[in-house]
């Protein structure tokens, strides 16, 4: 015989896990749907069944055949990696300078950068465009690298918050051993801020990877485009006719980033809370 209390517990556990399962389904469903759609024959958005009757990789092949997809991949990786390295380095340096040194104008610099960050970036789009035009950088990848890493220093606050918590004694010990500012930076600050650096790198990489607004404005020819622009155009111009192709594109674009995010999730959360007040 099962006692009433035990029965109550079983029912409770069951409904608890049922709820977890429902949330999980809602959470996963869009991704699952796209993955399945990408293997479905035909081109239509509509399909009678969730599971394709027959799996095909035709759409993946088509991406590479009809679009310069491999080229887009390389372009995107190149732009995203260079932007990531530059902006991470810039913001770390800025954070190091304001966290560890006292110099004239430091406070106004901090407030100034902070205030600049409040302007919506699209507001200056036209001016950036004119600047790039004047510098002859339109349709060049370097333009995007400049734009993406250009604003990096404005995110200094997070880095400063993190560096402020690194005890000064560590650095003093190194200085007594004759280390200069650079050695202190690379041997003490960088190794101690791994979660922060992962956070900064992944977010700046994803920022460059995800951007289709500036990229679309700057990159004119199909060969120069990035994945985000390509995918956006694919769905905005011909979506009902080539949906499955778009789905295949989504899978290829999202897969690497998704894996990176899943892998680094712990660091990302730590990074996000690093600058916050913990009392």
């Amino acid at each position: 015989m099962i006692s009433a209390a035990k029965l109550k517990k079983i029912v409770g556990d069951f409904s608890h896990h049922l709820l977890l399962i429902v949330i999980a389904i809602v959470t996963i469903y869009p991704a699952l749907w796209v993955v399945l759609a990408s293997f479905r024959p035909g081109t239509a958005l509509y399909s009678e069944h969730l599971l394709p009757e027959r799996f095909t990789i035709e759409h993946y092949l088509e991406l590479f055949r009809e679009f310069p997809f491999a080229q887009w991949y390389m372009n995107t990786l190149k732009i995203a990696i260079v932007s990531m390295v530059c902006s991470t380095f810039f913001v770390l340096l800025t954070g190091y300078a304001v966290s560890r040194f006292r110099f004239r104008g430091r406070k106004s610099l901090m407030s100034g950068l902070f205030v600049l960050n409040m302007f919506p970036s699209f507001m200056s789009m036209i001016a950036v465009y004119i600047l790039l035009l004047n510098m002859n950088l339109l349709n060049k990848h370097s333009a995007l690298m400049f734009v993406y890493s250009g604003g990096a220093a404005m995110g200094y606050l997070l880095v400063k918050g993190y560096f402020d918590t690194i005890p000064r004694s560590l650095e003093e010990a190194a200085r007594i051993d004759g280390a200069n500012h650079w050695i202190v930076f690379f041997r003490i600050f960088v190794p101690l801020s791994r979660p922060l650096i992962v956070y900064l790198s992944v977010t700046s990489f994803a920022g460059a990877f995800n951007d289709f607004i500036f990229a679309q404005m700057v990159l004119r020819t199909k060969e120069q485009q990035t994945l985000a622009v390509g995918l956006y155009n694919m769905v905005s111009s011909q979506f009902s006719t080539q949906f499955t192709l778009f789905a295949a594109g989504c899978v290829l674009v999202a897969l690497p980033i998704t894996l990176v995010f899943m892998f680094f999730q712990r660091f990302l959360v730590e990074g996000l809370t690093a600058g916050a007040d913990k009392g």
Binding site: F146, L158, N210, M262
Partner: protein, 436 residues
């Protein structure tokens, strides 16, 4: 004692570097003299035109002129280029002025130490001194240069545009000149019937959107976090990993996928609703449903990060607190209200406000899902789901109403700056701290 410092300062007022040469810092002096020559040459060459350009925004529009025997389109002044070029020259002038003052100070200082019989640094020593004692300025110079070129300069330009009549179709260089009109664009936005109507409508939805988007993702995440961390849950880490997925998928891909899922004709959601006998709404083309849809999608996309953050906090709350509460006979709800909720809010309120500020400007969600649609006939170039930032984008990229776009940008700035300054003042990172 020779009056070194006076002579040196006067000499470096005459020309940069002369004082340094007088102080027997030859390499530095010559380099600065060169800089002086180049800078002066550049400024003399450009300053007059730059000032003229910024003040008048050009005087001669593009027009037909009789060249020889035929009329030809002769290019006139391009107001926009005049502003940008003028700004670059003015910024150059400011930098030059700054270096000039630094040069006089330096000549004075070195002259003073010469009087006291201290040998001045040679060039190598100067470089060493800079890299040791001016290290912070040295390392931020490159990042700041980038900020300057790709943020400050464009922003100053955009703010200036808000005070001009730069807009399509009547004031569009190179065909036409543009003019300074002071605060007219601001006034028009607030008072001209259709513009004001749009502005207040969009602003209202923007605020509602930001509040609901923040609250729904935060409490959605909170709920899921409690569910996952509950003692009943088996295999906690598996659930957590599953729920992180929307956070990990690149956001623009998610939004584009969602746009197709909510397609009312062919999308799977309405298809499934049909199976159970419900005629699904037109998710993205009905004004009210479109708002609901963007909020729902945003909830799907945003709850995982709140969940992760809150799980992080939950694990740090001491178990003893709960045990003590149990001894006092607290119910589950009381434990939540008195222990869990305050702890989470205490740690996360700055982040919550940051999230709110981010939602005010969450461009991709709106742009990729609805692009501001469905259209609203009472609005000026905006749809029912447009928020300020997407309206700004539309005005800039599709309508050419650059001055109004700039005004809206300034308003967004004022909203965000107020919010963020208030927020950040409370955090540790910004308070003037002593070195620990």
């Amino acid at each position: 004692m020779k009056p070194n410092r006076k002579t040196a300062s006067i000499l470096s007022v005459v020309a940069m570097g002369l004082g340094q040469i007088y102080n027997r810092q030859y390499i530095k002096g010559i380099l600065m003299l060169l800089l002086h020559g180049l800078g002066l040459y550049y400024i003399v060459l450009n300053l007059k035109e730059a000032l003229w350009g910024i003040i008048t925004l050009g005087e001669k529009a593009q027009q037909l002129e009789l060249v020889g025997k035929v009329y030809k389109m002769v290019p006139g002044d391009h107001s926009i280029f005049l502003i940008v070029q003028g700004l670059i020259v003015l910024f150059g002038l400011i930098v030059f002025g700054y270096v000039y003052i630094a040069n006089i100070k330096d000549a004075y200082k070195v002259g003073k130490s010469l009087e006291q019989g201290i040998r001045p640094h040679n060039f190598i020593e100067s470089l060493k001194y800079v890299s040791q004692h001016r290290f912070p300025q040295l390392i931020i110079s490159v990042p700041l240069l980038f900020v300057f070129f790709f943020t400050v300069l464009p922003l100053v330009f955009s703010v200036m545009i808000a005070f001009t009549n730069y807009s399509s179709p009547k004031y569009l260089p190179p065909a036409n000149l543009i003019d300074w009109i002071g605060f007219d664009a601001f006034k028009q936005l607030f008072t001209l019937n259709k513009w004001a109507n749009t502005f207040y409508g969009v602003l209202k939805w923007n605020v509602i959107w930001a509040v609901l988007a923040t609250v729904s993702t935060f409490f959605g995440g909170f709920g899921v976090a409690l569910l996952v961390q509950s003692t009943r849950t088996r295999l906690k880490s598996v659930w957590r990993t599953i729920y992180i997925l929307p956070f990990a998928i690149p956001s623009f891909v998610s939004y584009l996928i969602m746009r197709n899922m909510f397609n009312s004709q062919f999308g799977p959601i309405n298809q499934y609703l049909k199976w159970i006998g419900i005629q699904g709404p037109s998710w993205l083309s009905d004004p009210t449903w479109a708002k609901v849809t963007v909020l729902l999608v945003n909830l799907w996309h945003g709850y995982p990060i709140s969940m992760l953050l809150i799980i992080g906090i939950l694990t740090t709350i001491s178990k003893e607190l709960y045990q003590a509460a149990e001894v006092d006979g607290a119910s589950a709800f009381q434990k939540f209200r008195m222990i869990t909720f305050p702890s989470v809010m205490y740690s996360l309120s700055p982040i919550l406000i940051g999230m709110f500020a981010g939602n005010v400007n969450s461009f991709s969600a709106i742009f990729l899902l609805t692009n501001g649609n469905p259209a609203n006939s009472e609005y000026q170039f905006a749809g029912n789901t447009d928020i300020l930032i997407t309206w700004l984008y539309n005005l800039t990229m599709n309508q050419g109403n650059y001055n109004f776009a700039s005004v809206i940008g300034i308003i967004i700035f004022i909203i965000l700056a107020t919010l963020s300054i208030w927020n950040v003042r409370r955090t540790r990172s910004f308070k003037e701290e002593d070195l620990n």
